[in-house]
Symmetry: C2
Subunit: 343 residues, 2 copies
Amino acid sequence: MAIGRSPSVKDVAASAGVSLGTVSNVMNRPEVVSAATRERVERAMADLGFIRNESARQLRAGTSRALAYVMLDGSNPFFHDVAQGIELAAEDADMSLFICNSNGRPGREEVHLDRLVQQRVQGLLITPVDPGAKHLREIAKRGIPVVIVDRVAAGGEFCSVAVDDVLGGRIAVEHLVEQGHRRVAVIGGPESIGQVRERLEGARQVWAELGMAADDLTFLPTAGSTVVEGRSAGERLAGLPVRRRPTAAFCVNDLLALGLLQQAIGAGLRIPEDLAIVGFDDIEFAAAAAVPLTSVRQPRQELGRAAAKLVLDESGNPEHRHEQLSFVPELVARASTVSRRNY
Amino acid sequence: MAIGRSPSVKDVAASAGVSLGTVSNVMNRPEVVSAATRERVERAMADLGFIRNESARQLRAGTSRALAYVMLDGSNPFFHDVAQGIELAAEDADMSLFICNSNGRPGREEVHLDRLVQQRVQGLLITPVDPGAKHLREIAKRGIPVVIVDRVAAGGEFCSVAVDDVLGGRIAVEHLVEQGHRRVAVIGGPESIGQVRERLEGARQVWAELGMAADDLTFLPTAGSTVVEGRSAGERLAGLPVRRRPTAAFCVNDLLALGLLQQAIGAGLRIPEDLAIVGFDDIEFAAAAAVPLTSVRQPRQELGRAAAKLVLDESGNPEHRHEQLSFVPELVARASTVSRRNY
DNA sequence: TTGTATGCGTTATCAA
DNA sequence: TTGATAACGCATACAA
């Protein structure tokens, strides 16, 4: 019964007493084979524990039935929600999804990309370290559909799916001004990240439009957008003289906001009375924070789903044209900016 | 220049004016080919943008150079840290890692598993929904190394890597008793999960050994181990009459603990004075909580690394014997159980 | 309806 | 040192 290697179509054919072509037909065009032989073949497959060898099928077909997503930062739950959206869309299309993580390192990103091209993935989704990197263009040139996720593809060379970050910055700061704040800090970094710049720009735009003094909008650059950086930003904030100290902070992502929140509470500040905080992304932990975090919500799963649909379209539809999809962010107000109780 | 499909060794051979075997040699045994031809071939490869087709190589080799990890719950950062550890070990062995997520659903798990077997992955790591499920045994029977992660493989059929959960429960509760607590709640669920039972058992063991009254250790079962469940457990706790209400809670994971923490703070309790809280896993968000969370630390990355080494060994070493590795958990005391300041 | 033959891209064996 | 050739497992065009 047990043979050393995995049983192949040939083994199944022999066992069922049919030719190898018939076995293949049972799998791929069952309607052309008679019920009797089909059943015989199916039993043989079950008996032998036959499982199709995907490599062989793929070699024959020229391409795989797999998509891949290279995410930027595995420690940020935001990307997992995006991945989940991609996964669901892939599932609908009967595709596999391989998830890789570059951790923000260009080198790792390239290693993953190389491997994925070797695997001949049918499509590639990526939140790149550098959206302008030339290896992305090279992959696209090979005919592999590439979709940029959570970044805008400059120059329209790729499809991309993102949220309107300028608008996101606008609604965050607009909300704070509505809550009565007149001195606001924008916290985030590094500035090399396009999103940081755009969210900051949105903040500045609306600040000016509302007639606020430019000096009262402080930008506090950080080395990264992590919890740790958020804490240290909080310390820097605390170091400012009281009369110039912002009464509210807009953090370019929730990790930063969570760090800031923690530091502020530890320092004895009341949230939002002493310091109001707005984050960005609305990850699950935002709502679950000790003081539930107001955040600019990105439709995380939808982002992923839409991106997956675009790769699939580019891969299958000869009429495909690149699109830059832009989603509208939405403010979710919670206790970190709005005090429920008035004492 | 541009040909429709990806260039193959044949194309490279033609372009370099050598035979296809020579091209293969350049890739796999460069020492046997003369410097001059090697260089010529390499230039041709670069010119054409040749990238080895992994499917073909794999078909030839019979197995892939990929490992896979099927994780149980993508929304729990714990599993991402484990995955990261696996990834690092895979990288060292020059292997790819495919990450899948069953989300606790047996059906998804099986779909992923099927696909991975079709891909002929070289080894499989999994935190299974049900460690006793027979499909795992079937995969192992095919000769694919299977390692159970974060669960103990009962019966020794597989290798497994886990933490001593009974001990984890012991040190958590021991710590609370040391802090002076005499009424403690253990929160977690569902009870079908072996770890929940074991951590609870450890708690009961040490409770008895320390001579405490059995009645004063309350088990509060939950439907799952999520932030939301933690919050609702907090509400149930608050509903208990004050004199029977526990002064401390041991949650079987950090997500629960974070939810409980949030609910308790929202209800105006002081942490740890009114309620002390211990979590389990020590995920990154534990330290970053508003009140930093005391937690039973699992060596998350180490778990992953060790698991990967075991699959690799099982795959390559004919002398391989199954092992059940057990790591020792460690208490990380933070502000949620120990008040720094005495007013 | 079923069988036979060919090729996908790679590696390895053997001969030159 | 290099070249020719077979084989991996599957899908398909074509023949029977």
